[in-house]
C-alpha cells in the first residue's frame, strides 16, 4: 500500500516537473527565436561578451532597482525612455546611451510576453550556456577523423618473417652441405676439410664483392634522387608564429580559401593576408576552440586591438602609438583574467609573454608600433621561375587543392607538391583547358576559332598576318 502511494506521489511530482520544464523550454525557445531575429546583430549570443551592444547576461539584475515596465520600455524604444522625464531610470538610461554611443533599434511590436520569453532565454544562456536547463552536452561528432590510413604494417611483418626464415634456412643448408662434404671426404680418406666458422663464410670474397656492388648501386640511386631533390621543399611544414589552423578555419568553419588569400584571383601572389583580415572575424570571436585566448591574443597584440574597450574606454578600440607596452600588457592581462576564469596565474603569464614579439618600441620616440607578423613562407619558387596565381585561379579555373593538397585538413600546413619543373610540365601536358563558360576566354572562343579557320580556308590571309613582317625573319 505504502509503495503504491509513493509511486503515485512520485509520478505526480515527475509529471509536474516535466510539465513545468517543458513549459519553460517552450518559453525559452520562443525567446531564442525572437532574440536571434531582433537582437543578435548587435548583442553577443553568448550573453557574456560585449559587441556593438553590451552583454545581456544579468540584465534584469542590473535593472532591478527600477520598475519592470521601464526595462520593457527601454527594450521597445530606448530613445523614448531617455526622453521620458517621469521615468525613474532616465538618468541610468541616458548614461548607457552615452557610454555605448549607438542608438538601439526600436522594437515597438514586442509584447510583454515576448520580452519575458527573451529574458528567460537570455538568463538561461548566460547561466547554463544552453537554451533551457537541464543542459545536454552535444555528443561530439565522430565523423571528423581523417581518411583511414592504409594498413601496410601487416605486409611488412610478413616480409620480415619471410626474410628471417629464408636466411635461417640458408645458414642451415650451408651447414648441412658442409657436414656432408666433410663426411664424404672422411669416407674417401681424403684430407678432412676444416670446419668453417660463420664469420669465414660471411667474409667470403664473393659475398663481400656482391655486397659492395649492391651498396654502390643503392648509394648511387639515392644520391642521384636526392641531388634532384636539392632546392625542393616538399613536406616542409614549419611552425608559424601564430598557430593558425587551416583545418579549423577552412575545414570546419568552411571559409573559402580566397576570403583570406584574396590576391589569388587578381595577382601574381596568393597573398599572406594582413592582420585586418583576421580582425574581420576576431573582433567578435575572442576565444578559439583549441588554444583559447593564447593565439588570438597575438592577433590583438600585432594589430593593437583593445578587446575590452568598454571597460578601458580611455584607450579606445585600438591603442594609439603613445600607449606603452606596460599599459597594453595590463589591459591584456585584465582581459585574459576575465575571459579565462579559474586559469592559473602562470598560464596567463605564459600567454602574455608572447605579446612583446608582436610589438615594437621605437627607442628614439618611445612610441609603440604594431608589427606585422613574420609568417614563414612555405611555398618558395626560385627566382628564375615566374608563376602567377591569377592565371591559374581565374583563367585556368584550377582548384587550390590541385597544387596545395587538402589544406583544409591540415592543422599545420605542409607543402604537398614538389613544385618541380617535371611536376609543372606534367600538369600542363595533361590538363584540358576549360574554355567553356570562362570569362577569360570570352565563352565564344570556339566561335572565334571557327572564324579564323574559315578565313584561312578562304585564302584571305596575308603573309604579314602570319608574322611575315617580323624583323628577325630577314635580319637575324
Amino acid at each position: 500500500m505504502i509503495y503504491q502511494n509513493l509511486v503515485r506521489y512520485f509520478s505526480l511530482a515527475f509529471l509536474f516537473l516535466a510539465l513545468s520544464l517543458g513549459a519553460q523550454a517552450q518559453d525559452a525557445k520562443h525567446g531564442k527565436e525572437l532574440f536571434l531575429a531582433n537582437c543578435a546583430s548587435c548583442h553577443n549570443a553568448n550573453m557574456k561578451d560585449n559587441a556593438t551592444g553590451p552583454a545581456l547576461g544579468d540584465v534584469e539584475a542590473r535593472w532591478a532597482e527600477f520598475p519592470q515596465e521601464e526595462l520593457y520600455a527601454w527594450i521597445r524604444n530606448s530613445q523614448g525612455l531617455i526622453a521620458d522625464n517621469s521615468a525613474a531610470s532616465q538618468a541610468y538610461a541616458a548614461d548607457l546611451y552615452k557610454k555605448w554611443g549607438s542608438v538601439m533599434t526600436p522594437f515597438p511590436a514586442l509584447t510583454d510576453a515576448d520580452i519575458l520569453d527573451m529574458l528567460v532565454y537570455i538568463q538561461n544562456k548566460y547561466e547554463f550556456g544552453c537554451d533551457s536547463p537541464p543542459c545536454v552536452t552535444a555528443v561530439a561528432e565522430g565523423g571528423n577523423e581523417g581518411p583511414a590510413k592504409e594498413d601496410n604494417s601487416n605486409t611488412g611483418i610478413i616480409l620480415i618473417i619471410l626474410a628471417v626464415v629464408l636466411a635461417l634456412s640458408t645458414v642451415f643448408l650451408a651447414r648441412y652441405i658442409n657436414n656432408l662434404n666433410r663426411l664424404a671426404a672422411q669416407k674417401t680418406g681424403g684430407e678432412p676439410v676444416a670446419n668453417k666458422s660463420f664469420l669465414q663464410i660471411v667474409l667470403n670474397p664473393t659475398i663481400v664483392r656482391l655486397l659492395i656492388f649492391a651498396l654502390v648501386i643503392f648509394g648511387g640511386y639515392t644520391t642521384v634522387n636526392n641531388a634532384i631533390n636539392l632546392g625542393r621543399q616538399q613536406n616542409y611544414a614549419p611552425e608559424q608564429p601564430i598557430k593558425f589552423s587551416h583545418a579549423l578555419h577552412a575545414g570546419k568553419n568552411g571559409i573559402d580559401c580566397q576570403y583570406c588569400h584574396d590576391g589569388a584571383r587578381r595577382s601574381k601572389h596568393a597573398v599572406i593576408p594582413a592582420m585586418n583580415t583576421c580582425m574581420n572575424c576576431h573582433t567578435a570571436v575572442k576565444k578559439g576552440p583549441e588554444h583559447g585566448t593564447a593565439e588570438i591574443l597575438k592577433i590583438y597584440a600585432s594589430t593593437g586591438f583593445n578587446p575590452i574597450s568598454m571597460e578601458t574606454a580611455e584607450y579606445g578600440a585600438y591603442f594609439s602609438d603613445t600607449v606603452s607596452l606596460e599599459s597594453r600588457l595590463a589591459v591584456y592581462e585584465k582581459w585574459l583574467k576575465a575571459s579565462n576564469e579559474g586559469m592559473a596565474e602562470g598560464d596567463i603569464k605564459t600567454q602574455l609573454a608572447a605579446v612583446p614579439q608582436f610589438i615594437q618600441t621605437s627607442e628614439e620616440s618611445k612610441l609603440v608600433n604594431t608589427k606585422p607578423v613574420s609568417w614563414i613562407r612555405i611555398h618558395n619558387l626560385p627566382d628564375h621561375v615566374y608563376f602567377n596565381h591569377s592565371q591559374h585561379v581565374t583563367a585556368g579555373k584550377v582548384e587550390c587543392q590541385d597544387c596545395h593538397g587538402a589544406v583544409e585538413e591540415m592543422a599545420v600546413v605542409k607543402q604537398h607538391a614538389p613544385l618541380s619543373m617535371g611536376w609543372c610540365v606534367n600538369c600542363h601536358r595533361q590538363t584540358k583547358v576549360k574554355f567553356d563558360e570562362n570569362a577569360y576566354y570570352q565563352a565564344d572562343y570556339y566561335k572565334q576559332y571557327e572564324e579564323y579557320h574559315k578565313e584561312i580556308q578562304e585564302g584571305g590571309v596575308t603573309v604579314e598576318e602570319i608574322g611575315g613582317l617580323e624583323c628577325q625573319k630577314c635580319h637575324y
Binding site: K32, L36, A40, S41, C42, H43, N44, A45, N46, D49, A51, T52, S102, V103, R209, I212, L215, V216, F218, G219, G220, T222, T223, N225, N226, N229, L230, G231, R232, Q233, Q234, N235, Y236, A237, P238, E239, N253, G254, D256, Q258, Y259, D262, H269, V271, N276, N280, C281, T283, A284, V285, K371, P372, S374, R377, N380, P382, D383, H384, Q415, A439
Partner: protein, 252 residues
C-alpha cells in the same frame, strides 16, 4: 689490368650512401639549396623575407624592414574607372569614397547613392555581371550572410556557429527597400561588428556583388527585372525591353 682494391669500392659506396641520405626536406627543415644565387630575388618580392647574403642592396635589418607588409604612402589614391561621389557615378575619375565612417556619413550615403553605377548593357552583360557577382559573393559574403542571403551562413549557423553575432538578413523588407548606398557603405566602412571589406573587393566588384544581392532579393520577392532589381531575366523578350527602357529612364 688489375682492379682497384675492394676497400676503394667500399669507400665509394659508403660515401655515396651517406651523401644521398642527407638533405631531404620535411617538418621544420626546408632542405638544402642548389645554386642559391639563381634562386633568390635581388629585388624585393611580396611576402618574401628570407634574406640572402648575395643581396648587396641593403643590410639584413634594412631588408627585413622593407620586406614587411607596408601601408601605401599617405595620400595614395587608387585608380579606377568609375567613382562613387555624392553626385553619382562618373567615368575616369578617382573613386574617392566621399562618406565618412560615422552614423551621419552612413545616413548621407544612404540618401545620396541610390543607383548602381555598374549598368548592364544587355542581357548577356547582365548575366556576366551576375555570374561574377555570385562568385565574389560566395567567397566574401556567404560564410556569414548565407548563400541565399538569408543571414544564416555557416559561421552563424542559426546562432550555433562560432560567430557570436547575427549577420544581416537581406531578405527583410528593411534591406529590400534600402538604397544601394546602405550596401556600398557597409562594404567600404563596415557596420556594427562587420569590418571594412574595401581591401577585398575593388570598386566594380562591390557593385557586382550588390547586383547579385539584388537579384537574390528579386528572386525571393518575385520582383520584376525592371525597377532597378536584377533578377536574371527570363528569355521573354518583353522583360528585357522593359528593363532597357527603365535604364534609359534612369539616365534621364
Amino acid at each position: 689490368m688489375k682492379l682497384p682494391n675492394l676497400y676503394f669500392f667500399a669507400a665509394i659506396a659508403l660515401s655515396a650512401f651517406f651523401l644521398g641520405s642527407c638533405g631531404k626536406s620535411g617538418g621544420e627543415f626546408a632542405g638544402y639549396e642548389y645554386m642559391p644565387d639563381m634562386g633568390h630575388s635581388i629585388a624585393y618580392e611580396a611576402n618574401v623575407n628570407t634574406y640572402y647574403r648575395f643581396n648587396t642592396n641593403s643590410s639584413e635589418e634594412e631588408y627585413q624592414e622593407f620586406a614587411k607588409p607596408r601601408k601605401p604612402v599617405a595620400g595614395t589614391v587608387p585608380f579606377n574607372k568609375t567613382a562613387t561621389t555624392p553626385g553619382g557615378a562618373s567615368e575616369f575619375t578617382f573613386p574617392v569614397y566621399a562618406f565618412d565612417n560615422t552614423e551621419a556619413g552612413r545616413n548621407e550615403a544612404m540618401k545620396a547613392i541610390t543607383e548602381n553605377p555598374l549598368k548592364a548593357k544587355n542581357e548577356d552583360d547582365l548575366k556576366k555581371i551576375l555570374a561574377q557577382g555570385e562568385e565574389l559573393y560566395v567567397v566574401y559574403c556567404a560564410s556569414c550572410h548565407g548563400e541565399e542571403g538569408d543571414g544564416n551562413g555557416q559561421l552563424w549557423n542559426s546562432g550555433d556557429g562560432p560567430y557570436p553575432n547575427a549577420p544581416a538578413n537581406y531578405m527583410t523588407d528593411d534591406l529590400k527597400n534600402a538604397t544601394d548606398g546602405r550596401y556600398y557603405h557597409a562594404i567600404v566602412h563596415g557596420k556594427g561588428v562587420m569590418l571594412s571589406h574595401a581591401d577585398k573587393l575593388s570598386h566594380d566588384e562591390r557593385w557586382m556583388v550588390i547586383h547579385y544581392i539584388r537579384s537574390l532579393q528579386a528572386e525571393t520577392y518575385d520582383l520584376p527585372t525592371a525597377n532597378g532589381q536584377n533578377k536574371v531575366a527570363t528569355p521573354a523578350a518583353e522583360e528585357t525591353e522593359a528593363e532597357e527602357t527603365a535604364t534609359e529612364e534612369d539616365k534621364k
